[in-house]
């Protein structure tokens, strides 16, 4: 028995390698019959079959060859078409820029989101008209932290509800769609207000999504503190995170929305700049409101 199993194991790789070209001609031998433990006769049949068909696999069934070639070309054509059409709706190449991050950047950015008071230079560095990838510039917005933060927020919400015996799988979906809807509403409101105030800025929609997604970090920290230290911990941590997100947003958006003179701190009079300052403050003030709104029902 031992000898037969050993010989089977030795034969099996050979059968597998020769088995694949035979797929089109012998459908019964598509998969290696590894369920039959000790059947040397069935194995002998399999062993002889590839040797017998070896000559034929070289010439190969012309029909199946044609069919395979046609199928592969059709598949590549379909893939091209899907890629082209998808690129029209969701700019995939632009999205790749936002995910070009590394661990050092993520660590520094998370620290900046929680403690933005010591950072001095908030400008995004450019490289021949295109902004530098987030990996090289800590001020550049990215989508990795918001995406991960969103998913973690949903998981933490599930955890928080679970500790209060209020959990059910539907609630996770409800939390996710609720947070997503509020995010979409916030981005649309920001876009609308930016359009109404006629700001000449290079803020794209994806940038706004990234900035709106940075608040999830503070929300997660608040809820976790609330789970560990009770309501008092939740309120204190949330207060701290709200203040830091407020300062972070103002300092980041100031450079993008206001004109250069006003951004440097010089007091520029004029209704337009005042309006833009109000807009920046409104966007920044909306963050703590959302942070509280989306988490207060999780901590009891």
């Amino acid at each position: 028995m031992d000898y037969s199993t050993q010989s089977e194991f030795r034969h099996q790789p050979k059968v597998r390698m020769r088995g694949t070209p035979m797929d089109s001609s012998e459908p019964s031998l598509l998969f290696d019959d590894t369920s039959t433990g000790g059947q040397p006769s069935g194995h002998g049949r399999q062993d002889k079959a590839p040797l017998g068909y070896a000559g034929q696999t070289l010439l190969s069934d012309p029909m199946s060859n044609l069919a395979m070639a046609y199928g592969s070309s059709l598949a590549s054509q379909g893939k091209e078409m899907v890629d082209k059409n998808l690129d029209r709706f969701i700019p995939i190449s632009k999205l790749k820029y936002y995910f070009a991050v590394d661990t050092v950047y993520v660590g520094k950015k998370l620290g900046l989101l929680v403690f933005p008071y010591m950072h001095e230079n908030w400008e995004v560095s450019y490289q021949q008209d295109t902004p530098v990838a987030p990996r090289f510039d800590i001020n550049a917005p990215d989508l990795y932290i918001p995406a991960m933060g969103f998913i973690t927020y949903i998981l933490v919400a599930g955890l928080a509800l679970g500790t209060q015996n209020r959990f059910s799988p539907e609630i996770l979906g409800m939390q996710a769609s609720s947070a997503l809807v509020w995010l979409i509403i916030e981005v649309l409101a920001t876009l609308l207000s930016l359009y109404l105030v006629t700001v000449n800025t290079d803020l794209t929609t994806i940038d706004l999504v990234a900035f709106a997604g940075y608040k999830y970090v503070g929300m997660i920290i608040g809820v976790l503190a609330g789970l560990l230290f009770g309501k008092m911990g939740y309120y204190l941590t949330l207060l701290w995170c709200c203040a830091s997100i407020f300062v972070f947003m103002i300092r980041t958006l100031r450079l993008k929305i206001l004109s250069e003179a006003a951004a440097e701190g010089v007091l520029v009079r004029g209704a337009k700049n005042q309006l833009r300052m109000y807009l920046t403050m409104a966007i920044a003030a909306a963050q703590p409101v959302f942070m509280y709104w989306l988490t207060f029902h999780l901590v009891r």
């Binding site: 769609s177 997503l180 509020w182 359009y195 109404l196």
Partner: protein
């Protein structure tokens, strides 16, 4: 507050319908929001009022036909599935 994506779509359709229904000469001109009253001068950038009027007019122009289609689909779906 339990929001779903479906309620967001509903809100969007209702809001767009509301903007598209504002009639140009019967209503907007009467309250000083007509299309010709928005263009202040060609000098500086348009103010908020001009941008708003522009937005209303463009929503009316652009979304008229798609709104007809979307509304018909909604009516049929609501009749069939309640």
């Amino acid at each position: 507050m339990a929001f779903t994506l479906y309620s967001l779509i509903q809100t969007a359709i209702l809001c767009t319908n509301a903007i598209a229904v504002l009639h140009e000469e019967r209503f907007l001109s009467k309250i000083g929001w007509g299309a010709d009253q928005g263009i202040g001068g060609f000098g500086d950038e348009p103010g908020i009022k001009a941008q708003l009027l522009n937005l209303i007019r463009s929503v009316r122009t652009v979304m008229r036909v798609p709104l007809i289609i979307v509304n018909s689909v909604c009516i049929v779906l609501l009749l069939l599935f309640g």
